[in-house]
Amino acid sequence: MAQAAPEFPPPPDQRPDHGRPPEPTRHPAERTELLDFYRQMLLIRRFEERAGQLYGLGLIGGFCHLYIGQEAVAVGLQSALNGSLDSVITGYRDHGHMLAYGISPDVIMAELTGRAAGIAGGKGGSMHMFSVPHRFYGGHGIVGAQVSLGTGLAFAHKYRSDGGLCLSYFGDGAANQGQVYESFNMAELWGLPIIYAIENNQYAMGTSVNRASAEDQLYRRGESFRIPGLQVDGMDVLAVRGAATTALEWVRGGNGPIILELKTYRYRGHSMSDPAKYRSRDEVQAVREKSDPIERAKRDLEGLGLGEAELKAIDREIREAVAHAADFAEQSPEPDPAELYTDVLVGQD
């Protein structure tokens, strides 16, 4: 059956003014849900700490970008998605996004160690991971590329009229790539269902955002394309979730793209080899002490009556899951050398 043609918006000069999305509000904390967010954030934190250790032991090689400090962003945003409709795409700092999707830590860790049981068969590594069942479109090592690719995913959602949208993540550094603006223009012109989520962790490798960006309030970067933007406290999972709800309503309401700037912070180096000379220890320590997203959720949970014993039980459960993933990743065999040649072109395996 031929599918109905999707509706594209009229040219900009003939469009009704669709105003702006409302200011988002903090998601109301409800115990079971918050506990779930807490568990996911803690899993990401412990997983990443373990990945850092395996790297130190030489079990993970090459590049490995940890998500520690930014957990609230992926957990808060992805909790609002419809997992059977929406697609997600991100850069190379991707372990957290995959874990927030409920993908097994085992296959993620095994990809980091380059084993056959890894989610990309050991051929992708830390930066290049994918999951078809979770509609997770990667894992991309080239800074900024995922923004155009995400725009294409959003086009396909619209073309199929499937009601889905794309969540495309990128960093403050990536926000300076030219293709980001080519994408913004197309997305607004064609009214595409996409959330551009800028994870502003304040550094692109050793360059702080204000040393590289003429407009460092990144949520404004869509203004000349008529794309609205919201700035969000990315260290508060409930604030992130609240903003996600607003953004989803905007996009699902047929208003086209939206930009979320999530102010966050990475605690670790850019990747495992980072002399960290561009910021002080005190700066990092201050953020950890004042704004840690996991500690914050914990306090909220305690306010909701969660006791020490329950928190300890969660901690134990997560440590076990991470230990299991590490064992799995260490013990799985390397890919067969014949795999080197598979999946280069279709039909030539």
């Binding site: 051929k123 590594g125 290049h128 692109a204 490798m205 360059t207 080197l340």
Partner: protein
């Protein structure tokens, strides 16, 4: 003289040309304040100021495009593209603008641009941090492509590249920044300080672009290599006791065909070695040149030892890398032919 690794030698080249010519500016991602992710530009901002050694946003197309404008107005920009794998967003500016402006302005605007970029594998970088894209650039008329293999050459060639009035793509084999890598990945790496080519003059010297170096004389077979593979070729020949003449091309465009021709006519056998994928790699060009020039002297078909025609894998890196085992088998084949 002092002992330098390749990073220090490249840094020294910058210091010298920037001192001599204030039209030289250097720019790139994390190049200024931080001194480059591999530290090649360390200290330049401090010494020469923020207007001469500076950071750019992550915007490769914009970086190279801006260099074209600077060069047209008389500056001599040196851009660092942090990894060769990130050069593709800038390809349009390199191919359509930098390489062509001189030609289409009938020589009004020379393009004295140097684009430096760490390249090659052997560091578990996976497919976006390991590539060897030199053949793409060799294919573009109007560009020069340089690939050093030692600290001494790196400094002399970089000085020549920056002083050259044409656009130069300067690929730095990052696997050998800190020491020569001979392809035996399971052996401990040796530092440059143990290698004679780490003896580098502190002052000015330039190595002309387009001049190869015979780094190991021999009679039985000629090996053509550049970058990391020069060390693999030499070590393997020594290890197996093969009387191979190893030629380090140093510049692939322009290529030193005279040195190649002289050697192949002497040995009658030619083997080409590169890490890049095989099909339409630079080895194909070398094989074609050798058969055009030396056909009646050849006693065996030209052999190519290269990376496989696959993306650079994350795992199985050493199955991809054309190391001593594959080279040894090729020696056997060509010598028995």
């Amino acid at each position: 003289m002092s002992t330098m690794n390749m990073i220090e030698a490249l840094n020294s080249a910058h210091q010298i040309v920037m001192e001599r010519d204030d039209n030289v500016v250097t720019l790139g991602e994390d190049v200024g304040y931080f001194g480059g992710v591999f530290r090649v530009t360390a200290g330049l901002q401090k010494r020469f100021g923020k207007h001469r050694a500076f950071d750019t946003p992550i915007a490769e197309s914009g970086i190279v495009g801006a260099c074209v404008g600077m060069a047209a107005y008389g500056l001599r920009p040196v851009a660092e593209i942090q990894f060769a794998d990130y050069i593709y967003p800038a390809i349009d500016q390199i191919v359509s603008e930098a390489a062509r402006l001189r030609y289409r302005s009938s020589g009004d605007w020379p393009m004295p641009i140097t684009i430096r970029s760490p390249y090659g594998g052997g560091i578990f970088g996976g497919q976006t941090h390991s590539q060897s894209p030199e053949a793409l650039f060799a294919h573009v008329a109007g560009l020069k492509t340089v690939i050093p293999s030692t600290p001494y050459d790196a400094k002399g060639l970089l000085i020549a590249a920056i002083e050259d009035n044409d656009p130069v793509v300067f690929f730095e084999p990052k696997r050998i920044y800190n020491g020569p890598f001979e392809g035996f990945y399971d052996r401990p790496a040796s530092p440059w300080s143990k290698h004679p080519a780490s003896d580098v003059p502190e002052g000015y010297y330039a190595i002309p672009l387009g001049k190869a170096a015979v780094v190991r004389p021999g009679e039985a077979v000629t090996v053509l290599a550049y970058g990391t593979m020069v060390h693999v070729a030499r070590a393997t020949a020594e290890h197996l006791g093969v009387d191979a003449e190893v030629i380090d091309l140093r510049t692939i465009v322009p290529v030193d065909i005279e040195t190649i021709e002289e050697s192949v006519k002497k040995t009658g056998r030619c083997l080409v070695l590169h890490e890049a994928t095989r099909t339409a790699g630079f080895g194909a060009e070398l094989a074609a040149l050798v058969q055009e020039r030396c056909f009646y002297h050849l006693e065996a078909p030209v052999e190519r030892v290269t990376g496989w025609d696959t993306p650079y894998p994350h795992s199985l890196e050493w199955a991809y890398f054309p190391g001593p085992v594959r080279l040894g088998l090729a020696f056997k084949k060509i010598l028995e032919a």
